[in-house]
């Protein structure tokens, strides 16, 4: 099942609907890299609320989404990391640099708007 990517204003919103296999994670990565140009997006929100785990593979793919988008002129915010997933990531010692993170979609969009104005308080 591929992840739906919606366009809202200058932003793309990728809302993951269920647990993803490795190939689905890579598909999302490639789709987003392409759509940033296609829609001339300034920012991406990836909603991972429904993701069951973020392991080394998923973390690397998500970081790549952020770095690729940045090279194409867009910022990426990850929203909806569940508390148990966050705990597992800390114990695993995974990190998500250079991604921005926010609690939910609303906060994520606010982060993108702040970043666009030049205030980069939330970013790395």
């Amino acid at each position: 099942m591929s992840v739906p990517i919606l366009k809202q204003g200058d932003y793309l919103i990728a809302s993951i609907q269920s647990a993803l296999s490795d190939s689905e994670v890579l598909e999302l990565r490639d789709d987003l890299a392409e759509r940033v140009g296609q829609f001339r997006a300034r920012g991406i929100v990836v909603d991972v609320t429904a993701l069951d785990v973020i392991d080394s593979f998923a973390a690397r793919a998500l970081r790549t989404i952020g770095s690729t988008a940045k090279l194409r002129g867009a910022e990426t915010v990850l929203v909806g990391i569940q508390p148990d997933v966050a705990m597992a990531m800390v114990q695993f010692e995974l990190d998500l640099q250079p991604l921005h993170t926010a609690l939910d979609l609303e906060e994520g969009l606010a982060v993108l708007r702040r970043t666009a104005r030049g205030g980069d308080d939330d970013g790395p």
Partner: protein
């Protein structure tokens, strides 16, 4: 041992199934949601290891019970080429297949026990355990049952 599940690992969709099976068994054994996620994440890493290094294998899940604790045991088995140096495979940053080599060391940090047996040419078996303390009431009840059995 009351519960036993085996998930064949042949494609990356099977990894998702193995994670779900691990989480379901952890929940049945009374582990917290967070522990369930730690276990599912570790399963994801060892399942990927099977796919990348051996192509196929299986993940066996079962429970284990001791006086003071309950445990979940995850055994990941493959018949691949084996790991040349288990010590190296457990170091961060080591990896032979284009990964970042974070998988196995990370999985080890998520679990309480972690062992790898590997025979070059004859496959690899990773065994991981996670424990949770047995509830004191649960233990007292069991001890009383045992006493009653002795008197009967």
């Amino acid at each position: 041992m009351d519960h036993e599940t085996c998930v064949e690992i042949e494609s990356d969709a099977d990894m998702v199934a193995a994670r779900a099976a691990g989480r379901a068994l952890a929940e049945r054994l009374g582990f917290s949601r967070t522990d369930g996620t730690l276990i599912a994440t570790a399963i994801s890493e060892v399942a990927r290891n099977i796919l990348v290094h051996a192509g196929c294998g299986e993940i066996l899940l079962h429970d284990v019970h001791e006086r003071d604790r309950h445990g979940i045991v995850v055994v990941a088995r493959d018949c691949g080429p084996g790991i040349q140096s288990v010590e190296l495979a457990l170091q961060d940053g080591w990896g032979s297949s284009g990964g970042l080599g974070l998988g196995l060391p990370g999985a080890r940090r998520l679990m309480d026990e972690f062992t790898i047996e590997s025979v070059p040419g004859d496959g690899t078996t990773v065994t991981m355990k996670k424990w949770r303390a047995r509830d004191p009431l649960e233990r007292l009840r069991r001890e009383r049952e045992q006493r009653e059995q002795v008197w009967a």
